[in-house]
Symmetry: C2
Subunit: 242 residues, 2 copies
């Protein structure tokens, strides 16, 4: 098979949504917690509410309003915000239980094609997260789901959050490559737009169920990305990886 | 099998000497270069001379005399120093050839037990370089030799060179663990002494041929390290990893 991106030596992956199904995994972890403390909210709604605070909390870091901290710190603050909204009684909840729920982001199932797709892609290209997740989170998620990364790049290595240009550029630098030798693999048009603006190549993976059955965003590629695929195994086909 | 270090969740590896045979690999890469340019020095001697400049060059960074730079930058400067000593005519040598020779450090064979040992250790523990090598170098070395790392920690992630305490401590922090949950795996007593002083557990691997047939250092463990093994497969036995 031909490789449509022969100059690319490293594939940097968005992880939450592109490689793993965060919504189901967070809902699964939240369900017994919500039940135990009598919080009357659907676990999927809870997952969506928690996730909705993700971008605003990173924006505080991007804008310089807040110094760079790892994603688990942002997630923990956001979790407490959502719990407060549902009138959680923090006096009854052990800190260790909140910490454990926060680690739901490290126990998410890969999409059905992810492990096979990554394994095949790895035959020809180096692969790694180019995610806003922190190193320990990406490590634990990989061991949970069997994601065969070669290296972990992204937010913690670059002390910045996508879509800032330096997240892409310093990740490329960390793996010893020029931007055009790196492809960003993501289910999100915004991520790919920023990656392309930084000089990276782009691979769009359609994940129409990331946000559940009523998803309205990122259902289609919004630009002529270098590769457009339904799954990571289809992306492997496009890159000539058996 | 029992795990003698049940609290340990991450094994951080010294790489040059402990996991891969740098001396043979550097000599192999240097031989055709030395012949082409008529430099009359045995390739193994050349490898030893190049390696002898490794610690002094890092010491300039540790002491603060020089800002932190990646290991390939130090190796490149040291390579030019050694070539100069042997009266290399830099006017005749293309920069790309020197750069390629400098990448000899990314094309080193694992010791015969390394891939099997790491593969087995990975069944129970997360594994990664805790090396003075830079991220790209560790990535390329892993892909060259099939080293199945989960993550890359060490000098570049911590912007420090072992045996500074922060290389160990910030590597542990990067993988989300306390120092006692991390074991340093090394063939060098000095590395283990510094790791232990920082609170890490210690695994000594005897590598009596790292420096060739006349090696005089690190032939024996000099302290009661937590595990002492002849090979990485033997270390896997000690950690209960089939």
């Amino acid at each position: 098979m031909n490789d449509t991106l022969p100059d690319v030596k490293f594939l940097g992956f968005d992880v939450f949504g592109t490689v793993v199904d965060w919504r189901s995994g967070v809902a699964r972890a939240a369900a017994p917690f919500l039940q135990k403390y009598g919080l009357e909210v659907d676990p999927f709604t809870f997952a969506d509410e928690w996730r909705a605070l993700y971008q605003p909390s990173m924006q505080q870091v991007r804008s310089g309003e807040r110094p760079w901290v790892k994603l688990d710190v942002l997630n923990r603050g956001n979790l407490e915000t959502v719990l407060s909204r549902h009138d959680a009684d923090f006096g009854r909840i052990a800190d260790a239980e909140i910490a454990d729920l926060n680690r739901a982001w490290e126990r998410l199932d890969p999409w059905p094609d992810s492990v096979e797709g990554l394994t095949r892609l790895k035959h020809r290209k180096a692969i790694g997260p180019l995610s806003n997740g922190h190193i320990a989170g990406m490590l634990n998620l990989a061991r949970f789901g069997g994601l065969p990364w070669d290296v972990i790049t992204g937010a913690e290595v670059t002390k910045s959050y996508k879509p800032m240009p330096q997240t892409y550029l310093r990740s490329a630098e960390a793996v010893g490559l020029a931007p055009y030798e790196v492809a960003m693999v993501a289910a999100h048009n915004d991520d790919l737009r920023a990656a392309r603006a930084a000089g990276l190549r782009t691979i769009f993976i359609r994940r129409p169920a990331e946000h559940g059955p009523h998803q309205r965003t990122d259902l289609e590629p919004e630009e002529a990305w270098d590769v457009i695929a339904e799954t990571l195994t289809q992306a492997a086909d496009a890159l000539g990886c058996n």
